[in-house]
């Protein structure tokens, strides 16, 4: 397992041979130090391994450092030496601050979105599951460190603190004033996460499958694509295999359960039934205050976060009609057979579907009104069509 990872091997042109040699010398010297010290057992090795990697990455462009590591046979020779059983495995977890799942959302007066002010926020439930899974992997000794990342307003730090209290080791807050449910979009977040994966040299990224505000479910796949890593989305079971070099992931699909093996490094996104998140305990809430939190910004990461889509308008869904009482099971069956209408999602409208000049970004339900809108090709409410 390489210690410096990047699949982007387009860096061959970067850096002269001289530079590469310099770095190589440095690496070899470091290793010699380790070899010479008799007490330099496993932990020392791990430390030095980290410091070499750190040095390469801080001194040179990370891609260049990786390419040296990849291509130079001398460095390759070091690989078995470094990949001991106690090698560092850092998990990066994304946590998002969203409107609390129990809050009844209201459309704001300007119809441009839902009301965010004075509304209870908490950690996205799927992110909670992601944090829990990372903590469990650490408890299984699969991982050595967990880093939580949250992109959002200053209050996102509260969410990060919750993650820290659940067992995450440190936090990274990327501050942006963008609305997290609309303006902060999956591609921008994925790009920032990709930068952070490089910076932190993470070996596994766990994200929630979707956030309950935007409901995009795109960040994890986009991140996997940017990194060139394998991905396992909607994970409902995760188990390290092959001496922690791969993960066996169970996914729930509409047609049944699917079991995948993904080689590490990889990106996971968590489904509902993966685990039940723990409560943060009072002593851990106190400890979390002392855990480090790094403050960054999209600019510092060099990522353009300008939204690529904009919401034209948001409306409340139509009121549901009252139900009826049935007297008997027979009557119920009769109604099911003869009167009940299937009110599933409209298969013709899927994310990415173009409707005139508009593109559908969410799933729409089939009903009279929407069908009309569909035929006229006008823009519509939440999770609907935007320009």
């Amino acid at each position: 397992m390489p210690i410096l990872r990047s699949r982007r091997d387009d860096s061959r042109t970067m850096g002269s041979v001289v530079q590469r040699c310099l770095v190589l010398i440095f690496v070899v010297r470091q290793v010699q130090v380790v070899k010479w010290s008799k007490a330099g057992t496993v932990s020392r090795r791990a430390e030095d391994r980290g410091s070499i990697a750190m040095h390469l990455h801080t001194k040179y462009d990370s891609i260049f450092a990786t390419s040296i590591y990849r291509k130079n046979p001398a460095v390759y020779l070091l690989q078995p030496f470094h990949s001991t059983t106690t090698s560092t495995m850092r998990i990066l977890v994304g946590v998002k601050r969203v409107i609390d799942y129990a809050v009844k959302v209201r459309v704001a007066a300007d119809k441009k979105g839902v009301e965010l002010n004075n509304v209870k926020h908490s950690m996205n439930p799927f992110c909670e599951i992601a944090v829990e899974e990372a903590v469990r992997l650490k408890e299984k000794k699969f991982a050595t460190e967990i880093v939580a990342v949250s992109v959002g307003t200053k209050q996102a730090q509260e969410t990060l603190r919750t993650a820290l209290a659940m067992g995450v080791d440190r936090g990274i807050h990327v501050e942006t004033a963008l609305r997290a449910d609309q303006e902060l979009q999956p591609l921008a977040v994925a790009k920032m996460l990709a930068k952070l994966v490089d910076k932190e040299k993470a070996g596994l990224v766990i994200l929630g499958k979707q956030s309950i505000d935007g409901d995009n479910a795109q960040t994890a796949p986009m991140l996997a694509a940017l990194l060139g890593w394998p991905q396992a989305t909607f994970a409902a079971g995760v188990e390290p295999v092959d001496e922690n070099k791969a993960l066996k992931v169970e996914r729930e699909t509409d047609t049944g359960s699917e079991v995948l093996k993904v080689n590490l490094p990889a990106v996971l996104s968590t489904d509902l039934r993966l685990n039940t998140p723990r409560y943060a305990t009072i002593p851990n809430i106190m400890k979390a205050k002392k855990k480090p939190m790094e403050l960054l910004s999209p600019e510092k990461l060099g990522v353009d976060v300008t939204p690529k889509t904009s919401v034209i308008s948001v409306a409340e869904p139509g009121k549901r009609k009252a139900g009826i009482m049935v007297e008997s099971v027979d009557e119920l069956l009769d109604k099911l057979k003869n009167e009940a209408k299937y009110r599933g999602y409209d298969q013709r409208l899927y994310p990415g579907k173009r409707v005139g000049k508009h593109v559908c970004v969410g799933f729409m339900r089939r009903c009279e009104k929407e069908r009309k809108i569909w035929s006229e090709g006008r823009e519509r409410g939440p999770g609907g069509v935007v320009e």
């Binding site: 129990a102 909670e128 039940t276 809430i285 139900g323 099911l336 009940a340 209408k341 009110r343």
Partner: protein
């Protein structure tokens, strides 16, 4: 692709989420709805605006504590559980141990023996959230934490190490024994005797209305080791299983049914002299100090129960329709509701003020605690009674839970010093001659 939004299992216990999921399913399956009681008692309307939120004015950490306790209460002290414990008189020891895992077992105890080392204010924030779930269970937990605090504050290092770690996890439950059949408000007149014989004390007498009696493992007993009056009282710890310690039959009560209450009787009950907590003759002082905190706790539990009821009431009056409109559109109901919420908020402010003063060891703390206890317990009873009235006939049914809160908070006006005794304490201070 799985497109439906799914929620973690532990969220499903929340009524609003159950409703949400049921709603999602209704879109997939037939459009035939069978209304259930839980769908009538919708809680999505229950959220009160921030001005009445228990987190108003709290700092970030305190908010986090509140949220933790609140989500624990929502998931574990659910209305269904609380109603079951109430009707079947179950003492939910396992649930309390779960709570203790989160740090709610020894809230005021220092960290070195497993406590959470919290201030009274932080404790109040936590217990308010728990009491909104199950008032009776939360109230027992406050009693247990008061015993822990007493042991932690006045016990020797050996005593702390011996009992507190297991009390913090609630593997050991504790009871506070002050009241006697013939010594209630006049606590100084207590007559349970402890006679020093060599290396041990021999206890004789009985204690009445002891929460947890029979189940608790540790009893902090206030008993007479010397002269008449407060200076002759000491605090002695008696473990369950000691010869001569026996319990009466569980009392049949109006409320507080999720915790057993019974008399505790000592007949030549011999305990080692090392079980004396603190100094001989100082027991009454400890008892009174403990009660200052105890009064904040009981007042807190009242505020939590009242908060739960005004939230239920808000949902109800916005949904219940009579004469062609929601009953909440009537000005009388609106005024009454405004009055109820205002008194909950007012009581909460007094409780937190008293907690702050107690934390600061202010000389006015005792009176502030007495005032807070009186105001919070009286107003909570009135508010919950009004809430029941607004629910009409349904309020009288157990399914709507308001009556349980009413029965649970009634005793708050009586215990930890009756509200009349609170007025004695207040008046004595106010009319003190310099």
């Amino acid at each position: 692709m799985a497109t439906f939004l799914r929620f973690p299992r532990r969220f499903i216990t929340s009524p609003s989420i159950t409703k949400f999921i049921a709603g999602t399913k209704r879109n997939r399956v037939p459009y035939v709805c069978i209304p259930t009681l839980s769908s009538i008692q919708s809680s999505h309307l229950a959220t009160l605006p921030d001005i009445a939120a228990p987190t108003l004015g709290l700092d970030e950490t305190q908010c986090e504590y509140f949220n933790l306790a609140h989500s624990f209460a929502k998931n574990e002290l659910t209305p269904d559980n609380a109603a079951k414990w109430d009707s079947k008189e179950i003492f939910p020891v396992e649930t309390m141990r779960k709570a203790a895992q989160l740090g709610f077992g020894a809230v005021f105890v220092r960290e070195d023996v497993g406590g959470s080392g919290m201030s009274r204010l932080e404790g109040s924030v936590i217990f308010e959230a728990l009491a909104a779930g199950c008032t009776s269970t939360a109230a027992y937990m406050t009693i247990h934490s008061m015993c822990g605090w007493m042991l932690d504050s006045f016990g020797t290092e050996a005593q702390r190490q011996r009992w507190l770690p297991r009390m913090a996890t609630m593997d050991l439950l504790s009871s506070y024994c002050l009241t006697e059949p013939n010594s209630g408000s006049d606590a100084v007149s207590l007559s349970t005797k402890a006679v020093r014989e060599g290396d041990s004390y021999v206890l004789n007498g009985s204690k009445a209305f002891i929460s947890g009696a029979g189940v608790s493992d540790v009893y902090l007993v206030m008993c007479r080791t010397g002269e008449k009056g407060p200076r002759g009282i000491s605090c002695i710890l008696v473990e369950k299983g000691t010869e001569g310690l026996s319990f009466g039959a569980p009392e049949k009560k109006l409320g507080w049914k999720s915790q057993p209450t019974a008399t505790v009787t000592f007949t030549d009950c011999r305990v080692p002299a090392s079980n004396l907590i603190g100094v001989e003759g100082e027991g009454f002082k400890y008892a009174m100090k403990g009660l200052d905190g105890g009064r904040i706790n009981i007042a807190t539990c009242s505020v939590g129960a009242a908060q739960a009821c005004v939230e239920k009431t808000r949902a109800y009056i916005m949904e219940r329709r009579q004469f062609g409109k929601a009953i909440g559109e009537n000005q009388y109901v609106q005024f009454k509701f405004a009055e109820m919420v205002t008194s909950v908020v007012g009581a909460r402010l007094m409780v937190r003020q008293a907690a702050r003063l107690l934390d600061a060891k202010d000389s006015q703390a005792t009176v502030a605690c007495a005032m807070a206890k009186k105001v919070a317990t009286d107003s909570a009873f009135t508010v919950i009674n009004d809430a029941l009235q607004m629910h009409g006939g349904y309020g009288y049914l157990k399914d709507y839970h308001v009556e349980r809160y009413l029965r649970d908070v009634r005793v708050h006006q009586i215990l930890e010093g009756t509200n009349e005794i609170m007025q004695i304490i207040i008046a004595r201070k106010l009319l003190q001659q310099d």
